[in-house]
């Protein structure tokens, strides 16, 4: 029987808890993208935050906080089958017990390692690549990451921009973090108008573009290396390279 859940991590954890504690499932799938197959029974899982939290805690106790944490990171991946990679990973864990994660070359372990690492990597990269523009005293940044890493940006920028109001907007998922300088929250967010930037902001951007161009050593030009670190698909939100002169 396939389990369908509501896209949330709590929903996934609830489904996994039911799988391990009550009745085995053949697979966990997000309900909106589910392809019904003839003869396959399905069960809609109702998200239970308390059960989810308890199960998460169980993972920490049974394996390690690292394993639980890794599940959370892997869940943010854009891998289309991440739920079942996680399910296979945990099945293996429940069979082998504590320490299973060290067998990182095992086919049940390796994929989760890989996607969790990719998520961490992208989040780390965006701590640097987020670009704010100041509009009426508010710092606004848009980005469109491959993975759902918006939530991983929040605490870092809350600390870094202490006391400032800011917005980080994931344009791919229509979500944003709003922060008033003290607290943040994640909300659905859409922007369908062009931004009009104040003169002061344009001047700072111009200064930065000039700096960015001049700091490169012309004798060492290496566009391939540059694109390797700063993939082109990110460029549209990067102030220093999104103006016509770089396209």
């Amino acid at each position: 029987m396939d389990y369908l859940y509501d896209h949330s991590f709590d929903g996934f954890l609830t489904a996994a808890a039911i799988h391990f504690q009550e009745k085995r499932t053949s697979g966990i799938f997000p309900e909106t993208h589910y392809q019904y197959r003839l003869g396959e029974e399905v069960r809609s899982i109702e998200t239970d935050p308390i059960r989810a939290a308890t199960f998460y805690h169980e993972l920490e106790e049974r394996f390690s906080s690292d394993v639980a944490h890794k599940c959370g990171r892997a869940f943010l991946s854009d891998h289309p089958n991440k739920e079942n990679l996680l399910l296979i990973y945990l099945n293996f864990g429940f069979k082998k017990g504590r320490g299973f994660d060290a067998i990182f070359t095992h086919p049940d372990v390796e994929p989760v390692q890989t996607i969790a690492t990719a998520v961490e990597w992208e989040a780390a990269r965006f701590l640097g690549l987020i670009r704010f523009q100041e509009i009426k005293g508010i710092l606004y940044a848009s980005f469109s990451p491959d993975n759902a890493i918006l939530g991983l940006m929040a605490d870092h920028f809350l600390d870094r921009l202490h006391g400032e109001a800011w917005i980080i907007h994931d344009t791919k998922r229509n979500l944003a973090i709003l922060c008033n300088g003290v607290k943040w929250r994640m909300v659905p967010f859409k922007r369908d108008f062009a931004l009009t930037l104040p003169r002061e902001e344009l001047a700072v951007q111009q200064l930065w573009r000039g700096y960015f161009t001049h700091i490169a050593i012309p004798e060492r030009k290496n566009p391939r290396l540059q694109a390797q670190y700063m993939p082109r698909r990110y460029w549209k939100d990067l102030v220093e390279v999104n103006s016509p002169q770089f396209r």
């Binding site: 070359t105 990269r125 640097g128 690549l129 921009l161 200064l207 000039g210 290496n222 220093e240």
Partner: protein
Amino acid sequence: MYDVYDRLQILADSAKYDVSCSSSGNERKNNRAGGIGNARSFGICHAWAADGRCISLLKILMTNHCVYDCAYCINRSSNDVPRASLTPEEIAKTTMAFYRRNYIEGLFLSSAVDVSPNQTMEQIVKTLELLRHQWQFQGYIHVKAIPGADPRLIQQAGFLADRMSANIELPSSESLQRLAPQKQLQTILKPMNQIQHGIEENRYALKQYRNAQSFVPAGQSTQMIVGATPESDYQMIHTSQKLYDRFQLKRVFYSAYIPVGNPKKILVPIPKIAPLMREHRLYQADWLLRFYGFRAEELLDEIKPHFDADFDPKMIWAIRHLEQFPVEINRAPFETLIRVPGIGHKTASRIVNQRRLASLSVEEVKKTRLVWKRARFFLTVRGKYYGGRSISPEGIKTALQPEWSHQLRLFPNAKGGQARGLSI
């Protein structure tokens, strides 16, 4: 007079050959009310310039007016370049504007010597004071100690900065004498010494008094220019090793010499490998000194004083020490594993962790993210050797040749001679 935009570009041009620009080494949470910024110990890159180098800090000179005439330097007094200065206020304001927008992690402030070392250092200290006190900036600051400046000024800067550096520039006092006659090794080593003592004293003070200010918490670094003088790779890494041992430097940076203007005093022998490739090899060797327990004497010696364009220093070392190989991957201690070409720290610790559960088969070994095609010559797996019939330096080199063309792509000018900037 230029406006800020033009002056910033001129001073970025003047600073860009200085490479010692990473923002790592100090973790600081923002805890002061009203302050802005934090510092992360892992270092954050914010952009990559057209040369593929990470931009982490706003790297500029206070001024490029210089009273000195160091032959290797773009800002030497005899060189015809546009000259400009920024005021402490302008630098502080620009740093804040860039920092708030997340363009940068902080400031890397250096300077040419305008009028006198003291006057220059005073301006630098003033900029730092503005940033830390008036703007309450808590981001990363790396600052140059200007050789010859009053120790009191260096002391002041040290309490405001995260990292300080004094550039040694050249690995021998003879070369320094020839190319930078107004500088002396002693004036460069003096601030280095002072900073190191400052850090040590401060470590004690921090333990004793809860409110003690920290002094250069991210440590000090230095930079050497590669390829402007005839020193061998052996001399370079030997100097680095001495600097690490004696001053406990966090980093030595290497900068391939790029001729600018018409530097008459520079005479370099046509090198076997191009400066960029050489720089790359020196970084690899430096890494081995710092994290892999190698000593300079193990990697090179007087008879073979240069690294190779074709193979990295660890591979060269391993090929020259075949008597120590092969080692059994299921038994060799960690320190031995990390000396195997194709095995890094992370892979070695994974291997050690995994083999505790069960010995590794060759299929499992290949999946550990080691570089099998390099490592296989130096390993046995469950007693079996996979490096071919007999292990010989020539055999290994031939088998590894294809790797070479890949590196050539990374370093378009890797082969000597035709490298740009060598035709002097």
